[in-house]
Structure formats: C-alpha cells, structure tokens
C-alpha cells in the first residue's frame, strides 16, 4: 500500500468516525477503543491502534454530550494520534512502542480541544441549515427536509482534514522518534506510565457515582493482593 493510499484511507475513516460520533448511528464505532484498532487495521497495524485506543478510551470515558454541553472531541484526538503513530511506526520499523505512542499522544491530544471548537462551528452551520429549511419548506418541502443531511458534511470534512494532516505528519513523528537519545526514551516511558495512571483516575471520575472510588479501590486492592500472594507462593515453591 502506498503512502498516498494510506493517507486517503486515514482521511476517509477519520471523516466517517467524526460523522458517526454524533450525527449518525452512534454505534460507538468512533470511540477510541473501537476507532483505534479499526483505523490501525486499515493502515496495517491493528495492535498499534489498540495501544493508543485503550488509554484514550479511559481518558475520555466521561466525555459526554449532555444537551448543549460539548466535551473534548476524543474521536479526532484518537484518529489523529493513531494515524500518525501507526504510519510513523512503519517508517521507523519499530511499530507503535510506548515511546512512539507517548509522542503521538503528546502531539495530537490538543486536537481534542480543537475538535470541540470545530463542533461549535458545525452547530452554527446546522443552525443556518435549520433556518433555511424553515424558510423554504412551504415552497420546496422535499428539498428543505434534505438539508438535514447537509449537517453531516462539515464533521466529515473536519474529521478527514484533521486525520489526513496528522497522517501526513507521520514522517516528522518518525524522525523525532529516531532522534531521541536514551534519556529521553526513558523519560517518555515513565511519562507513558504516568499518562496511564491519569487515564485510570479519569475512568473512575467518569462514572459519576459517590461509590465509584471505593468500588475501584476495593477491586484494584483485591487484584494486587491476589497477584502478590500468587508471586509469594511461586517464590516459596521449590
């Protein structure tokens, strides 16, 4: 598969995911946990997509579109980070290791905020579409109703543009990854652990229930103790 084809595939999937997120279906195909491996598979590295999709899913687990509130756009962040990391991993022949994943997330996490702003713009376009439909419905009802589907265009174009640009930046990410010295690689590995820790905390917060911290602490404590007990038994056995 040539790089141009990969860029086109990334852009189309990024655009489709942006549409699926709110405008159509909402089957959760645009959530990072689903989008990561799907986009990764389309670009040739399903596991690399999952490596980035898992923490982003946890981080944005509480991103909820309640009424008029707009959360950060986890779909655009995931599609950009996965497209760039998977293609960079292919360029470096390392794949999506923890260092590449950390770099991709650090570089493309801000697109979650940009995506949210873009969604506000989309709402403005949709408001105008609805106003136009209201104004023209008496004269051309079928055409006025079809304007509804025009609302899918802006998110598609935005998602495609963001993901396409991120994928095109993969050689830059690969060069950055290759140029890292040993200290920075170690730093990024610890940064990855800290990032995962924040993702876990964010997941507990996302549940919005007073009992959530206690339940989570009990479950993690129980698993940690069982693991410790298993290890002790293993060490003691001849």
């Amino acid at each position: 598969m040539t790089r141009a084809v990969q860029l086109a595939i990334a852009a189309v999937i990024g655009g489709a995911a942006a549409v699926e997120r709110k405008g159509a279906l909402q089957l959760m195909l645009s959530r990072p946990l689903a989008l990561g491996p799907l986009l990764g598979a389309a670009l040739g590295d399903v596991r690399g997509g999952l490596t980035i999709g898992v923490p982003l899913e946890l981080l944005f687990l509480g991103a909820v579109n309640l009424g008029a509130t707009l959360p950060d756009n986890e779909t655009i962040a995931a599609s950009c980070a996965v497209a760039a990391a998977v293609l960079a991993g292919q360029d470096t022949h390392i794949g999506v290791d923890e260092t590449t994943a950390t770099l991709a997330i650090a570089l493309f996490l801000p697109t979650a905020v940009l995506g949210r702003r873009l969604e506000r713009l989309t709402e403005g376009i949709n408001r105008r579409l609805a106003a136009r439909a209201r104004a023209t419905i008496a004269a051309q009802p079928a055409r006025a109703i079809r304007l509804h589907l025009g609302g899918l265009l802006a998110p598609f174009l935005a998602g495609a543009a963001y993901t396409g640009i991120a994928a095109a930046l993969a050689p830059f990410l690969a060069a950055l990854r290759r140029g890292l010295d040993h200290h920075l690689v170690q730093g990024l590995e610890i940064g990855w652990i800290f990032f995962l820790a924040v993702c876990c905390a964010s997941a507990v917060r996302a549940i919005r229930d007073a009992r959530a911290p206690s339940f989570a602490a009990m479950a993690s404590g129980a698993i940690a103790l069982v693991t410790l007990a298993v290890k002790i038994l293993h060490w003691r056995s001849p």
């Binding site: 405008g23 089957l27 991103a63 800290f194 995962l196 993690s220």
Partner: protein, 254 residues
Amino acid sequence: MTAPVRFGAFLRLRVFLRSLLLQASWNREGMQNLGFAYVLYPALCRLYPEGPARVAALQRHLDFFNCHPYLAAAVVGGALRLEERVAMGEVPAEAVPAYKRALGPPFAALGDAFFWGALRPATGLAGVLVALIAPSARPVWALATFLGLYNAIHLSARAWLFVHGYASPEGVVGALGAVHLPDSTSLIKATAATLAGAVAATLAVAGGWPIQTHHAVRAAIVVIAAYAILPKLGPYFTALAALAVGVAIGVATG
C-alpha cells in the same frame, strides 16, 4: 379528513432507520427539530398529498425538540401513531407537539444517565480489560466485547422503544417505567467502578507489580493525585501535565 390509514411495516422500518440520523443537523437553537421532521417525512408524505396540509404537518415538527438520541425512538414511534390519528381526525394536530414536549426532557434525562453515564463506561471498561488481560489474543475480542455488549443493549432498546411508542403512544411511559432504568443504572455504575479498579490493577501488574514495587507505588500516587485534580484541570491538561512530569523524572533519573 383523510381516509383511515395504518402505516405498513416497511414504512415503519424506514422511519426507524431514518431515526438513526436524527442528530445530523443538531443545533443549539432547535436541537433535533429538523432531524425529527426528516425522520417522519416519508410517513407525512403517505398521509398528506403534496400541498398545504403536508407543509403544515412538516412545520409542526420544526419546533424545538431535544431528547436522548436513543430514547427519542419512543417519541418517534409515538408521534408516528399520533400523526395517523391526526390524519383520521381522532386527535387535534396540537397533540403531536404537546406529546413531544412532554416526553422529550424526561426521556433525555433517563437516557443520558443510563446510556452515557453507565452503560458506555461499563462496556468500554470491559473492552479495555479484555485488551489488557489477553494482550496476545486478537484485538478483535476487545472490540467485540465493547461493541457487542453495548450495541446489543442499545439497538434492542431503540427497536423496543420504537415499537412500544407506535403501539401505544400513551403507554410508553409506563412500559419504560416497568424496566426500572434507574435501578439498572445504579447497578451498572457499580460494575463500571469495579471494572475501573480492575483495569488499574491490571496495568500495575503489567507494569511490574509486585516485583518492581516502586513503579506501582509511583503510579498509584499519580492515580490519587490525578483523581483529585481532574475536576479542576480536566482530562486534557491533567494528562499533558502527567506526561511532562513523567518525562522530567525519567530524564533526571536516567
């Protein structure tokens, strides 16, 4: 008055499928208003010939409407049935917008709490856990767990609500009440919290616990600190701050 009419299965299916696009033109002013008119359009075309009657029917759906996109299926089904009755002269046209106004907000609250607040986090965490505990397995299992569990409930709920709404517009509230959604929400949230703890512990085990205890202790401190500062900084800035601190520690101790 139009002759008595009952929508056929194909038309109802068509309306249901169009309801999957309800939010395509979501906007802050009318929210799902144009979407609702789009969803019912084939039915209104069947009821009214081209002309002022059809336009009037479409116009009553261009008023403000907001609901949870999944639970809106019940309102769509109910409005579809009421439109039949309006066309037959059994109820006044105002009954349809009144029905939508009455059901939209409470159904939105129920759907937000159940689907966004409980089911999605729980199924997402289940998928993440599968991805972590079986890293050698195909990633498709993580995907299948998340999408399979979520959509089995989501799609059957949407279809069930639409069918019930159409069968009995007035009875759909009672039918939904019998499901005890708030109780299920509470139970699923407890499950989600337990899964979140299991995910954190699985990551700690993958990171070296209990052999490299210092890594796990350091990560646990970050989890607690992040939990405290997340409401102030939000996930985006907290994540970037943690990345920066981690890199600084790694470089300094390297």
